[in-house]
Amino acid sequence: MNTPWAECIAKRVELSTPLNSWKRVEEGVFLHSQGIAVYSGGVFHETPFCLLFGGFLIRSWQSYLHLIFVGCDLLTAALLASVASSYSRQLLEQQKNAVSQFASDASHLLLTSSALGTGVVYVAAAYLFCPYTIASCVAQTTSVFANLIIAAAFASMVKGYPVIFGTLVALVAYQSFYPVCLMVPGILFFMQNDSHNLKAALLKPLLSFLVSLGLLMVISAEVAGGWEFLEATYGFILAAPDLTPNIGLFWYFFTEMFEHFRLFFLATFQINAFVYVLPLAIRLRKDPVLLATALLAFTAVFRSYPALGDVGIYLSLLPMWKHLYPFMRQTFIVGCMFVATSVLGPIMYNLWIFSGSANANFYFAVTLAFNTAQVMQG
C-alpha cells in the first residue's frame, strides 16, 4: 500500500467507481470543510454518514489509513470464516437428519466433518488472497467497508441475531443501496429457525431494518443540511448519469443508447437487479444462505457502478459449497474467462485511453466477457 503502485491501482476504473473511490471521499471532505454544499455538485456521491466517517478518518487517522483498510479486510475475513463454520455445521446437521434419504453413490457429494475446518480456511483464504479484494483494499475503495458490513450481516444471520441483522442490512443498504435484497434471505432464515414463532421472526429483522434506516436517513439529513443528498446518492445510483467506464454493463450501454429509449432501458436494467429476488427466494427457500450469496452475486453484476470489490466478496463465499463443486458446469471455461478478462481489461483500457490505438469497443468486449463469466458461474 505504500508502494508507488498504490496510486496507479487506486486510479483503476475496475476498482474505483464514482461511488466508491476514496479520492471522491477526500474531495467531499475537502469541499465540506470549505463550507461548500457537497451534494449540490456532481463529484461526491457517498452518503452523509460516509462523509462524516471519511472526514474523521482523514483528520485523525490519515497516517494509519492503509492499516485501517487492511484491518477492515482482516475483520471481514474473520467474519466470513465464522459464517462458514456456523453454516457448514448447520448443513452437516441437516444432512445427518436426512442422511437416510440419500443414495450411497451420492456420498462423495456429502459434507464431511473434516471439510468443516478446511471450508472455513478456504473461505477466509479466498477472501484474503483473492486478487480482487486485495486490489480494492490497496485502492482504498469504500467497498472494503461495505464488504465488512455485508460479512457482519451474514454472520449475524447465520448465528441468529435478527435485530443486529436488520440494523446491518439497513446500514449496507443505506451505503450502497443494492444489498437491500439481503433482507429476503435473512427473514427466510429466521422464520425457518424459529418456526414456532413466525411473526416474531418476521417482524424483528424487518422492524430493526426500518427503524435503523429511518434513523440513518434523519441523521443524514441533519448532517447534510437537507434531503438533497438523496438525489446525489440514490438518484445517482438509479439514474446512472456518470458513464465513466467500469466493469459493469451500464456505462457503454447507456453511452450508446438512443435518447428516447433511455428511461425505458434504465428502468429495465435496474429492475433486472432485483427481479431475481422473488423466483430465487421461492426456489432456494430451504437454503437462505445460498440465496443470499446468489443475490449478492447478481447485484454485483447488475448494479449500475460495480467494482471488483463487490465481486470479491461473493467469490470468497463460494467455498462454503465446496462439496457441490462437481455439479458446477463450465468451471474451467469460467475460470479461464475470469483470468483472461482480469488480465485483458487493464490492457484494453490502456490501449484505448492512453495509447489511443484501440477504441472503447475493446474494453467493452472485455467487460462483457467478464460479466458473462460471472453470469455463467452463477
Binding site: 463529484v43 445427518k96 443414495a103 450411497s104 465513466t244 453511452t255 450508446e256
Partner: protein, 471 residues
C-alpha cells in the same frame, strides 16, 4: 456623439445577481463575423472609416479582434433615464517590417489596401489618432501629411503623445492616405515585459485525467493580488483537494466555488492569488475527463473540446504597458488618455483544447444487442432453474416417455369404462418414485456407517471442546 456622459453602472454593480458570465471558447475566422459587426455601424461600410475594412487585409493580419461592448449609461447629467452604450472595436496587428525589407514604413493604403475616401455624414466626429510617444522630436519617423495637432497627456509611465487627424478636414474632396516614413531600418530591441503575464495549459497524458495549470508571473517590483476566474464545463470533473492543501492555500484563497452538476451547470472557480515581486505562481486544477453520451459529442469528436479562457483581473500599480485604463470614458479621445497611478487590467488566458475519451459512434445497435444478450444469459438459466422441478425417475423402468404415455392414454380413453380403470392403474405406476422406495438404493448399511462415523467424530470434537473449556 456626447463624450461627457456619466456611467450608470452602479445599479448593476451593486446587485451581483444581475451579473451573467458566458464564454465562447472558439469561433472560426470568417468574413461572416465581420459582416454583422459592420452592419451595426451607422453608415455600414458604404461610407466613413469603416470603408477601410476589407476582409482580405483583415484576415491576413497576424492578429485581429472584433469586439462589441454594451453598457448602460445615463442620458444626461440628472441621470433620470438610461440608455445603452455600444462600443465597437477592431484590433489588428500587422507586420510591415517583413514586407518593407526591414523598414517599418506603413500607410493606410498598405495596411487596408485602400485609402480613406469619405466620412460618414451621420458621425459627429471622425478622427484618426497615431501614437507618437516613441517618436520624440520626429527622430525615428515622419508622418505624412502633418498631423493637425499633437495631444500630450500624462507623465512618466502614463506619458502619451497622440498625433490627431480630423478625417473630415483631411479629406477635403480628395483621398486621404496617411503614411509614415522611417529614417532607418528597424532594429529589434528589448521590449519591457508587461507587469503581469499569464499562461495556461493542460498537463497530463492520456484521456483519463489531467490538470489545468496556470502560471502567473509578476515582473514588477511590487507584489500583486490577482483574481483568477475560471468557468469550466461539467465534463471536466475537478478534484481540488490535491492542489489546495494547507501549504498551497497560504498564498492563494479560493473565494468562490460552484460545483458542477452533470449536464446541468458548469464549474465556477474563483481564487485570489498573491504574487510576490518578480515571482511566478502556479495554480493547478486537477480533473478527470467524463465519457459523454454518444449524441453529446460534436461532429468531429476526436478533435476535442475547447475550454473557454480564464480571466485574470488585477489592479496594476503603474500604467506601464497598459493601452487603456480609463474605463469611464466613452469616446476614444478619453480612452486614449492614460490615468496616473493604479490601473485595472483584465487579461484573458489562452483557450484550451481537451480531448475526451470517445465511444465508437458506428455501432450503437451492436452494443445494445450484446449488452442485452448478457442480461438474457443471466435471465435464461435462472428462469430455467426456478420454473423447472427436478424429479427422480425409476432407472430400470424403460417405459416410454411422457408423450408416448399420453398417446397411450388417448387411445385407451376411446375404449370402454372397464379398460379406463386399468389405464388409471398403469398411470399410478408411472408416478415419480421417491428415493426411499428406489430398489437400487438399498445398501443402507454403508450410509449408516458414515452416519455413525460422523456422529462419533462430532462427539469427539464436542468432548474436546468441553475439555478445553474445563482447562
Amino acid at each position: 456623439m456626447k463624450c461627457d456622459i456619466k456611467i450608470y453602472t452602479l445599479w448593476y454593480a451593486e446587485n451581483s445577481s444581475f451579473l451573467r458570465y458566458a464564454a465562447l471558447p472558439r469561433e472560426n475566422v470568417c468574413t461572416e463575423n465581420l459582416t454583422p459587426w459592420k452592419k451595426l455601424l451607422p453608415c455600414d461600410t458604404r461610407r466613413g472609416l469603416a470603408m477601410l475594412l476589407h476582409p482580405a487585409p483583415l484576415y491576413t493580419a497576424h492578429y485581429h479582434a472584433l469586439s462589441i461592448h454594451l453598457r448602460p449609461t445615463c442620458q444626461d447629467e440628472s441621470c433620470t433615464s438610461s440608455h445603452l452604450e455600444l462600443v465597437q472595436a477592431l484590433s489588428l496587428v500587422q507586420n510591415p517590417t517583413v514586407s518593407m525589407e526591414g523598414h517599418q514604413d506603413w500607410s493606410l493604403r498598405q495596411l487596408f489596401s485602400a485609402p480613406l475616401i469619405s466620412t460618414c455624414p451621420l458621425a459627429s466626429m471622425s478622427k484618426v489618432y497615431v501614437d507618437v510617444t516613441t517618436n520624440k522630436d520626429r527622430q525615428s519617423f515622419i508622418l505624412y501629411p502633418e498631423p493637425d495637432s499633437i495631444d500630450v497627456s500624462g507623465s512618466g509611465d502614463s506619458l502619451r503623445h497622440l498625433a490627431v487627424y480630423d478625417a473630415r478636414q483631411a479629406l477635403n474632396n480628395d483621398i486621404f492616405d496617411l503614411e509614415a516614413h522611417y529614417q532607418s531600418r528597424h532594429v529589434y530591441g528589448l521590449i519591457p515585459p508587461p507587469h503581469l503575464h499569464v499562461s495556461r495549459f493542460v498537463t497530463g497524458y492520456g484521456q483519463e485525467g489531467g490538470s489545468i495549470t496556470v502560471k502567473l508571473t509578476n515582473t514588477g517590483g511590487q507584489p500583486l493580488s490577482v483574481v483568477y476566474l475560471e468557468v469550466l464545463p461539467w465534463y471536466l470533473r475537478l478534484f481540488l483537494h490535491t492542489s489546495h492543501t494547507h501549504q498551497q492555500m497560504q498564498s492563494a484563497y479560493m473565494s468562490k466555488l460552484v460545483t458542477a452538476r452533470d449536464r446541468e451547470r458548469g464549474w465556477l472557480y474563483e481564487a485570489v492569488v498573491e504574487i510576490p515581486a518578480g515571482a511566478t505562481k502556479e495554480l493547478s486544477l486537477e480533473f478527470t475527463r467524463a465519457l459523454l453520451k454518444w449524441l453529446e459529442y460534436p461532429p468531429d469528436a476526436n478533435h476535442g473540446f475547447y475550454i473557454p479562457a480564464a480571466t485574470v483581473s488585477v489592479v496594476l500599480p503603474t500604467p506601464r504597458n497598459v493601452s487603456v485604463n480609463s474605463l469611464d470614458g466613452t469616446c476614444l479621445k478619453d480612452k486614449l488618455i492614460l490615468n496616473e497611478g493604479a490601473s485595472f487590467v483584465r487579461i484573458h488566458t489562452e483557450t484550451l483544447l481537451v480531448s475526451l475519451p470517445t465511444p465508437d459512434f458506428s455501432m450503437p445497435y451492436n452494443v445494445i444487442c450484446l449488452a442485452c444478450t448478457v442480461v438474457a444469459l443471466a435471465f435464461g438459466p435462472i428462469h430455467n432453474i426456478t420454473t423447472k422441478k427436478l424429479v427422480l425417475k425409476k432407472i430400470e423402468d424403460k417405459a416410454s416417455p411422457l408423450s408416448k404415455l399420453l398417446t397411450k392414454l388417448k387411445s385407451l380413453l376411446k375404449r370402454s369404462k372397464m379398460e379406463e380403470k386399468e389405464t388409471k392403474g398403469t398411470d399410478n405406476k408411472q408416478e415419480p418414485v421417491i428415493v426411499e422406495e428406489n430398489p437400487l438404493y438399498d445398501d443402507r448399511e454403508e450410509l449408516e456407517d458414515i452416519k455413525e462415523e460422523e456422529e462419533s467424530e462430532e462427539d469427539k470434537t464436542a468432548s474436546e471442546d468441553e475439555n478445553k473449556k474445563d482447562r
